[in-house]
């Protein structure tokens, strides 16, 4: 060992025989590879900015860099080319070890490079909006790690596009990582605070949405990396009512700690024109790991139906995960490593972004292969003695996930094609799966294939008979296939299961309107408005139904409200024109029809209406 070190020095003529010093050899390494975390206010337990800082821990630094515990970096080099790679080279590690062994000398002050400069506070400048947890959360002094989810409700009153997100954990010393999830369903807020403390427990959060809105971005915090910034044309949509869920991994420090995280949002006016999507390889269903097994393997794969660029990757397992691999097999049969983590450590889990997008042509098979160690020899095993482990969101359960952020290459938006492949693959893994059947139903419905869509919805109902969502979706599909009567039965079933289901009321009203049963339609539309007084399509239809039953004043009132809320909603303009024409307010009617024509220049009905009142 000593001999090799001497050779290494001998090979560097500029250094001659002198041994490494802090000022000349160690400071450059520490400033570039350690100081992002090891400085005041950051996640690491002490600063590494001065000679005194480093000298006091020289042996420790040598030991931890040699074992590659520091700087934290899990992926094997050469298997995926990642941005901001933190690994030290073998020669850097050797230099540190030598320096420590020789008494950690300071060296010549003239050799010391200037200290690195860091931005204080928000790294991207003042955010456009900051949301902060109402009340601090208290983490106990001791015990095992805690996985907690905090719900934030950004108060936007119109759709905004988010170009960057920065998380300020509030107490970095106890946070291992944090993940921002977008909840458009409102399901997380129902779980918030149920146990008396802010947020709710769970390592992984499942959010089911009713619309096609696949997750698209990794919004991740880890020590030393506080924000995620997107390219200008790849912002994500934040609608009024959307919640953000901050999923945090917390580690007790030895004293009770208080935590009050904030999220900073940076907006842009530019709506996205490129739409990435998070594709998940997983096989949680195969996780049934016998106690004592050291090499339980879980695999999954997906054949890509379109050309994509791979932007980032996020492997995820819990404490039993040992060796995590991601691979791509190209159509020509050649293989490419996407990532390989040979010694998985959930404490340092992270999203890895590729330096350059990795092109994966249509027909590429992406695959994962995870190995789990459920023996007593795995010190991280949370169960002692080991017990049989299945999938779940507790730390004693396991997961097998590999998330990939992909950007389909060609326009128009090809995410639906991708999603269809994901769901068909899911059906192969889970033949009676609810989510796969429901999603395929929705995808086929969106492609105007009502017959096929209805088939998938019916199978989704076999998996989950009481689902009001599926009854309603099935009804909508039947309606678009011209089967009004069967559709109505589904809407009514949805409403029996969930009397306050706004969309089912609306759909039922549409059937009654088509059958000119205006009284019944009005009843359902009023139910919609009671739930959301700003529901513009319902206001517009209600106006139309009122007009048909001669309740002109009320009709005008609802239609005005609809136009006020959404001046670009064609139906409201047209309906309002009709009522106004009927009561002889010809000028006002004409201006509504013209507004309608501006929105849909080809609309023959509006033209005809204008002609009728002599205002062509």
């Amino acid at each position: 060992m000593r001999l090799r070190a001497l050779f290494a020095i001998g090979a560097l003529p500029a250094l001659g025989a002198s041994s490494p010093t802090f000022n000349r050899d160690i400071a450059p390494i520490v400033f570039s590879h350690c100081a992002t975390c090891h400085r005041p206010g950051e996640a690491a337990p002490f600063s590494l900015l001065t000679y005194a800082d480093a000298q006091k821990r020289a042996t420790q630094i040598a030991a931890l860099t040699s074992s590659r515990f520091m700087p934290p970096w899990l992926p094997e080099p050469g298997k995926g080319d990642f941005a901001n790679e933190r690994r030290l080279s073998a020669s850097q590690i050797r230099t540190i070890r030598q320096w420590a062994a020789q008494g950690a000398p300071e060296g010549n002050p003239a050799d010391l490079p200037p200290q690195p400069k860091f931005v204080e506070g928000w790294q991207l400048g003042a955010p456009d909006m900051i949301v902060t947890l109402d009340k601090p959360y208290t983490l106990a002094a001791s015990g095992s790690d805690v996985f907690r989810n905090f719900v934030f409700r950004p108060a936007v009153n119109a759709t905004r596009y988010v170009r960057a997100v920065e998380v300020r954990p509030g107490n970095k010393k106890i946070v291992h990582h944090a993940n921002v999830l977008i909840d458009r369903s409102g399901s997380s807020r129902l779980r918030d605070g149920q146990d008396g403390a802010p947020g709710f427990d769970g390592m992984d959060v499942k959010i089911e949405t009713q619309t096609f809105d696949p997750d698209s971005h990794f919004l991740f915090w880890k020590p030393g990396t506080s924000y995620s910034e997107e390219p200008k044309d790849m912002a994500w949509r934040l609608d009024p009512g959307t919640d953000l869920v901050l999923n945090m991994h917390l580690q007790p420090s030895g004293k009770a700690e208080s935590l009050q995280p904030s999220i900073g949002l940076y907006f842009t006016d530019q709506a996205p024109t490129r739409f990435p999507m998070l594709v998940q390889l997983e096989h949680d269903g195969a996780l049934d790991i016998p106690a004592g097994r050291v090499d339980f393997v879980v695999k999954d794969w997906l054949k890509l139906p379109v050309d994509v660029d791979l932007l980032g990757i996020y492997p995820h397992a819990h404490y039993l995960g040992k060796d995590l691999q991601g691979l791509a097999t190209l159509p020509d049969g050649s293989t490419r490593w996407l990532i390989h983590i040979p010694d998985w450590d959930i404490n340092w889990q992270a999203v890895y972004r590729y330096k350059k997008p990795l092109f994966l042509p249509k027909g590429t098979v992406i695959s994962m292969r995870y190995t789990y160690d459920n023996s007593a020899q795995n010190p991280r095993n949370p169960s002692h003695p080991p017990k049989r482990v299945g999938n779940g969101d507790k730390s004693t359960d396991e997961m097998a996930h590999l998330w990939l952020q992909v950007l389909p290459r060609s326009a128009p938006d090809q995410r639906m094609i991708l999603q269809e492949s994901v769901m068909r693959r899911r059906l192969e893994k889970y033949p009676s799966d609810f989510l796969a059947h429901y999603s395929l139903g929705a995808l086929l419905q969106a492609q105007s294939m009502p017959g096929e869509a209805a088939e998938y919805y019916r199978r989704a109902l076999l998996a989950r008979p009481g689902s009001a969502t599926v009854h309603n979706a099935l009804g909508a599909t039947l309606l678009s296939g011209g089967k009004a009567k069967e559709a109505m039965a589904e809407f009514q079933q949805a409403l029996r299961l969930e009397p306050g289901y706004s969309n089912a009321h609306y759909n039922a009203a549409r059937v009654f309107l088509a059958e000119e049963r205006f009284g019944d339609a009005i009843e359902h539309l009023r139910a919609v408005i009671r739930i959301d007084p700003r529901d513009v399509p319902a206001l517009s239809d209600l106006g139309a139904a009122m007009m048909a039953t001669g309740q002109t004043d009320e009709s005008i009132r609802y239609l005005h409200e609809a136009v006020r809320l959404r001046p670009d909603y064609f139906n409201a303009r047209y309906n309002l024109g009709q009522v106004l024409a009927e009561i002889g307010k010809v000028d006002e009617a004409a201006s509504e029809f013209r507004a309608a024509l501006k929105l849909q220049p080809e609309d023959a009905d509006s033209r005809e209406a204008l002609r009728k009142i002599g205002r062509e």
């Binding site: 337990p45 002490f46 000298q55 006091k56 821990r57 020289a58 042996t59 420790q60 030991a63 931890l64 074992s67 515990f69 002094a141 001791s142 095992s144 790690d145 007790p252 420090s253 030895g254 004293k255 404490y319 450590d345 404490n347 020899q377 010190p379 991280r380 095993n381 949370p382 002692h384 730390s395």
Partner: protein, 182 residues
């Protein structure tokens, strides 16, 4: 075959020489002087070592359990230069309720020979009967169990409390190297 920790037998008959140190509240004491205590437990620590800090609740638990049974506990701060104010703040924040010694000249370090913080040394009737880890929660730096499965220090204290003759032993502790503070 695999051993969770290594056991080395310490030489018998070596009685602790005395060392007079200053306590955090300014008194001069010899922690190893014969005061009739069943045993003296030294816990080597420093304020900027995260592993040491994470052990604070466990150390407190052992203190609760054994102080009433005639054991004396001392925290031994091994940083030569850290200000007393800082140390006082540390003791308060982590809720330690027993005395702290400032081992500025590493006198206790030379006697008990701990390698890292946190590490424990147990003296029974003037003799070092245990030196090493508190428990086996940490396996290596960055590799930890969710909870310890071997409570080495507690076991030794139980044996001493029961009046049994204790085979002196050492175990390897994981933590921050004291050598760096030389």
């Amino acid at each position: 075959m695999r051993r969770a920790f290594s056991i080395a037998v310490l030489a018998w008959g070596i009685f602790a020489s005395s060392a007079v140190l200053t306590t955090l509240d300014g008194r001069r004491v010899d922690p190893l002087a014969n005061t009739g205590a069943k045993a003296v437990v030294l816990l080597f620590t420093r304020s900027d070592c995260p592993i040491s800090n994470r052990y604070a609740p466990e150390v407190e638990r052992l203190y609760e359990q054994f102080a009433a049974r005639g054991f004396v506990f001392w925290l031994v701060y091994v940083d030569r230069t850290e200000s007393e104010n800082n140390i006082r703040k540390h003791v308060r924040e982590f809720g330690y309720r027993f005395g702290a010694l400032l081992d500025r000249k590493h006198e206790l370090v030379s006697l008990a020979k701990p390698v890292v913080t946190p590490e424990a040394a147990v003296y029974a009737r003037g003799q070092l009967v245990y030196r090493g880890r508190i428990d086996n929660r940490y396996v290596a730096f960055g590799k930890a169990r969710q909870a310890a499965t071997e409570h080495d220090l507690e076991k030794v204290l139980e044996e001493v409390a029961a009046g049994r003759t204790v085979q002196p032993k050492t175990t390897r502790a994981i933590g921050c190297f004291i050598e760096d503070l030389k």
